[in-house]
């Protein structure tokens, strides 16, 4: 009788745990994509600061793992990138000049006082520039690089 009571208690306790089998479709890790409101840059935007990459897409993503840039206000910059090559991963470092180039075709929806700076040039390499709060997006034919601003402590 006593063992029956124990068994009954065990059954009741066991029945308190519901089935929690993970569905096959839920096995894969899915990250919530952060919604970022991008807009084309204009000459009022400031680029100076320290940035690290948050995403690389396009053909270049196969080999470009991580990028860091430090843009100075006087037009100089230094950068570092972790690149996957034939011999594996390796860092590259750079230093040079950067500049914003204003478009000679003002965007008609912008106020007349604002002319759009749609491209950034880094040592001669041009990219379309998009901005969001504390973020930059550089768009080229070879791929897109997204950066976030990080405060240097």
């Amino acid at each position: 009788m006593r063992s029956f009571r124990f068994a009954l208690v065990a059954l009741l306790l066991g029945g308190c745990y519901p089935s929690n089998v993970l569905d096959e479709s839920a096995r894969r890790v899915e990250r919530q994509r952060q919604q970022v409101a991008w807009r084309p840059a204009h000459n009022g935007d400031r680029v100076e600061g320290y940035y690290r990459s948050t995403g690389v897409s396009g053909p270049v993503a196969a080999n470009l793992v991580r990028v860091y840039y430090y843009f100075e206000a006087d037009g100089r910059y230094t950068g570092a990138a972790l690149v996957a090559g034939a011999d594996g991963l390796a860092f590259q470092t750079l230093a040079g000049g950067w500049a914003l180039h204003e478009s000679d075709k003002p965007r008609f929806e912008e106020p007349p006082s604002k002319r759009v700076a749609v491209s950034i040039e880094i040592d001669g390499a041009r990219a379309e520039l998009w901005v969001a709060p504390n973020r930059l997006r550089l768009v080229t034919q070879q791929g897109t690089l997204e950066l976030e601003s990080v405060e240097l402590e």
């Binding site: 929690n20 993970l22 948050t54 196969a62 478009s103 075709k105 008609f108 080229t140």
Partner: protein, 354 residues
Amino acid sequence: MLRKILVGIGVLAVVAAVVLPITALVLLREKIVVEFGPARDAEVSQLALLSDENAQLRSDLAALAEANARNFSTLAEALRGDRRAGEAALSERLDALSRSIDALRGAVEAARIHARVEEDRAASDAANDDDSGNAAAEAAQPASDRDDVPEASTGFLRFDVPQSALDPETPQRFSVIGSLSRVGFDGKSTLHDFTGVTSAVTGNFQLAPNASRTVASGTIVVDVATLRTGVEGRDRDMRTLLKLDEHPELRFTLEKVERRESDEDDAATDRSAVTASGSLSIAGVTHPIQSSVTLEWKGGRRLTIEGEVPVRLTDFSIPPPSQLGFVEMEDEVRIWFSLRARWLGGARDGDHSQ
């Protein structure tokens, strides 16, 4: 008296009225001569008058013509000025339209580029860079399909980024991204079924994703202490059965990969079905296993590996848990895995991933 005076005045008035005109006539008659000329002289006078009038008219006409000429000149000048002003205004409007068209073209191009970038992001994995923990998508297009991409992409913001593509026919090296991977098992018991899962997965391996048969190598390691079933008591019992203190890791050693025909094969998305063979170590006991695996390469540098394999606890000398003889767990459990691995490049000579 008055009557006499008035009579006298009247007589004088009469006399004056009679005598004075007669006297005037007598005195002036000799001075007034009335002459009557012949008809020819009147005609001459009329011609002269007409001539004068004619001259006057001519003078007036000349003045009128001059005034008209001035007016016409002013009008012509005004018309010419209006035309010039109209042409200038039209030219200015055309220039403004041209600028607007250029601006529209720029906006369309910018929108097109923006849309292309968003398509790349939406077509890729939802996962992002693992180390940073930030959310960003990578391109879905396999690098091997890009014929228009130059080999050396030195222009990419001045870094020397090679455009080498993954060759799925030759062995490639990969590293497991733990934060984007899961390993778990599904168990069945008398009362209910349950899942244990962990993301504490590490490992490196190499294989040829599309080769029909290839010698593969590598190791996948799972941290036993991080396995969770959702019930603390059950987790505690599980760690005891798995001999956590002596063997804190589950280890799978990859030895071979073979292609197998499957409906899951899809060349468009670089998806292929393979059978992975190797050995699994649990609680210090090693046992050979074969697992049906799906490999998916979505471009960028990420390989997705998913599959499952049934194992028996008793094969690893693990007695199926039981409670009071009434609640028993089945001997067979299904181990499953969903891994994301970063491509590290082609296999190097003598390289054996550990």
